[in-house]
């Protein structure tokens, strides 16, 4: 009811005001996080201004840098979508990492093992195979939650470790390339996702995936079932929604998105699977999803921001001598301020605005 009222209120406002209303807290959170990150940099003997300038130059300073930002943002969009989508059903998918790895290695396998297919079939086939594999892997956690009540936070994290071990095994065993390095053979030319100028085609796929996810959540019956389950699973059950099905499917689709992220990265950027691939994406996805206030379309700018920080971090380390791990600290601070928006409002003296409140702690351990 309250949500409806704010919606009608929002409709009366201009587009600019609405945009500011929804973007103000994330933007101010980023500013606060950068300020505190700067203090940490200064305290540890680095020049924060020089660091941030290098960061900016390395991410938006040239067409090449911007291309790198978009390239970094691509798997992040998928990772952010995976988390944001699961949030809609009240599920916390920390397993983006594992789903991405499974997606990546299956895409790599289809990419190098299926010889003689034309590009128009081979590339999509490898892409979809990776996404489906990620989806099935995600659905495991969904099924465990639906049928046994095992909380997805723990199961998805455990599945991450299993995925790391499993992919390491495959890349060092049955699917190992010739030579001593543990990695798969390079994917064939016909499975490579192309890059146009500085614009990676994978980025366009990610944007399309974001739009499709938004449509699924807000414009379909299934999306309605997901959101109802997220707000109150008991009420959803009472209203005739099959909650256990929704949970399994949601985790499946969430894993599908993460798996596609892994496939796009493998087929478009890395060109093969190698251990240590894109570690940390699961946590990035959480920050991005919350920064986007779990809106699939908001995931795009949020992922570009985090992607820019990652793209610029090597420049920062190179020219300002700052360890790139400071990016993780800033990311955690962003996550903190976005979730604890009450602090942001106090600091900037803002009024409370309506909006979706995220509750994940229901169903813990039961």
């Amino acid at each position: 009811m309250a949500a409806q009222e704010t919606e009608t209120m929002q409709e009366r406002e201009s587009v600019g005001k609405r945009l500011w209303r929804s973007a103000s807290v994330p933007v101010l959170s980023i500013i606060l996080a950068l300020v505190i990150g700067g203090v940490i940099l200064a305290l540890s003997g680095n020049n924060p201004i020089a660091a941030y300038v290098a960061l900016l130059r390395g991410s938006f300073g040239s067409a090449e840098a911007f291309g790198r930002t978009l390239e970094k943002a691509t798997p992040l969009i998928f990772g952010g979508l995976a988390v944001a989508f699961a949030f809609k059903a009240g599920l916390f998918n920390i397993g983006g990492q594992g789903q991405l790895l499974i997606g990546a290695i299956i895409a790599a396998y289809v990419g190098f093992a299926f010889d003689g297919l034309p590009f128009i079939i081979h590339m999509p086939l490898a892409l979809i195979a990776g996404a489906v594999a990620g989806g099935l892997y995600g659905a495991i956690a969904g099924a465990l939650k639906a049928y046994t009540g095992a909380h997805e936070v723990i199961t998805t994290i455990m599945l991450n470790y299993v995925a790391i071990n499993l992919t390491d095994y495959l890349a060092d065993g049955p699917w190992k390339d010739e030579g001593i390095i543990a990695r798969t053979p390079a994917v064939l030319e016909s499975a490579v996702i192309p890059t146009w100028g500085f614009l990676p085609f994978g980025f366009l796929l990610a944007v399309l995936a974001a739009i499709a996810t938004w449509y699924l959540v807000y414009r379909t019956t299934f999306g309605y079932a997901i959101r109802t389950t997220g707000i109150n699973p008991n009420a959803a059950q009472y209203a005739g929604i099959k909650v256990s099905q929704v949970i399994i499917l949601t985790m499946g689709i969430s894993g599908f998105l993460a798996g596609m992220g892994g496939a796009v990265e493998t087929l478009g950027v890395v060109g093969r699977y190698q251990p240590g691939f894109n570690l940390g994406l699961g946590f990035d996805g959480i920050t991005i999803a919350l920064l986007a206030k779990t809106n699939p379309l908001g995931v795009i700018p949020a992922a570009i921001l985090i992607g820019a920080m990652q793209a610029g971090s090597s420049q920062m380390q190179f020219s300002a001598g700052v360890p790139f791990q400071i990016i993780d600290v800033i990311q955690a601070l962003i996550l903190f301020f976005v979730s604890a928006d009450i602090i942001v409002r106090k600091v900037f003296r803002m009024r409370e605005t309506g909006g979706e409140k995220i509750t994940l702690s229901t169903g813990w351990g039961s």
């Binding site: 095992a150 936070v153 959480i286 400071i326 990016i327 600290v329 955690a332 604890a340 813990w364």
Partner: protein
């Protein structure tokens, strides 16, 4: 779904049968241990000693989790608390080692690890009690922050100044099998076992325990009789943080002897599964932690014996075991009723 299983679990008849199963299980384990000890004494001793070692950070983490959850605060930040404490304990030890006796530098390292754990507990309490942040997100903030800070300040190539040594408990250590496994351990391993019984007693036999449980089960009733829900939760999560801090110090100063990025390797999360498997009780959690410790120790032994199993596959064993255990027990165990809900006094 849950409520029906709970009522059946609380029927006296099923509790007796549960106890019978438990005793039968313990007897079976005892017979198996004696059998394997006769067949291969060295391997059996090393696997069992490894079990105690591997169980130490898990039981400490589980105690951290259950002290918080008994008062109604979910803590998925145990992993981050451990990691941060491991790092700070390590750095304090490295910094103080050259200027004071090694024993003192180790002791102060452990103390600072405990304090950091408590500090991060305070941060979690602030987020979940005062700011009323969703507790799962609060824990995630702690995890990411700890990973980022420790990686940023990490310096390659440092090792601890000394390591906490094992010491034998007099003649007890000379008993075959039991001696080397239980009575020839390092300080934090002894301490962890003692703490299991201390927390078990405190939780079920003291005023603090009663207050904690009442706040976790029915906060408004506790509030009515004059127990401060917020204070209790703050205090518990901070005390709980000390346990995670001790686990972190154990990893760097007693177990490994150096710090590596992300060295907790999911132990904080496995600890949560241990807590659930142990039904939110210290003794139950200890049993669960020993089971996980055993799985890890067995994996090490299998790798060592050079069986033709790829190490990546045996490496998954503890994680798969966690999932199986959660799947088998999560639905049946009942968490404290008010867990995860911020309290609003009326």
């Amino acid at each position: 779904m849950t409520s029906t299983t709970v009522t059946t679990a609380e029927k006296p008849s099923s509790r007796i049968s549960g106890r019978t199963i438990l005793i039968a299980l313990l007897v079976a384990i005892g017979i198996a241990i004696v059998y394997y000890y006769i067949v291969d004494p060295t391997a059996t001793t090393s696997v069992l000693a490894g079990t105690i070692r591997q169980a130490t950070p898990l039981i400490l983490g589980a105690l951290c989790g259950l002290i918080g959850e008994r008062s109604g605060i979910i803590n998925i930040g145990i992993e981050g608390q451990m990691l941060m404490a491991a790092f700070v304990a390590f750095m304090v030890n490295v910094a103080l080692g050259p200027i004071m006796p090694l024993g003192l530098a180790l002791f102060l390292g452990v103390v600072s690890g405990i304090l950091v754990g408590a500090l991060m507990g305070g941060f979690l309490a602030w987020m979940s009690v005062t700011l009323k942040l969703d507790q799962i997100i609060g824990g995630t903030v702690i995890n990411i922050l700890a990973l980022g800070l420790t990686s940023y300040f990490y310096v390659i190539g440092l090792t601890t100044r000394g390591k906490l040594p094992t010491f034998a408990l007099g003649p007890l250590a000379d008993i075959p099998l039991i001696g080397p496994v239980l009575f020839n351990r390092s300080p934090i391993q002894y301490l962890a076992i003692i703490l299991v019984f201390v927390v078990q007693f405190a939780l079920f036999r003291t005023v603090w325990g009663l207050r904690t449980r009442s706040v976790g089960e029915h906060p408004s009733a506790a509030d009515t009789v004059g127990i401060s829900v917020k204070m209790t939760r703050y205090m518990n999560v901070i005390i709980a943080g000390c346990f995670a801090g001790l686990a972190g110090a154990y990893l760097t100063l007693e177990s490994v002897g150096t710090f590596e990025r992300g060295m907790t390797n999911g132990r904080g999360f496995i600890a949560l599964a241990v807590m659930i498997f142990g039904r939110w009780t210290p003794l139950g959690s200890w049993g669960a932690a020993l089971l996980f410790g055993f799985a890890t120790a067995l994996k090490t032994q299998l790798d060592f014996m050079g069986l033709n199993v790829p190490p990546q596959l045996t490496g998954s064993m503890p994680y798969i075991l966690t999932i199986v255990v959660l799947a088998g027990f999560a639905g049946r165990a009942r968490p404290p009723a008010a867990v995860g809900q911020p309290y609003e006094s009326e």
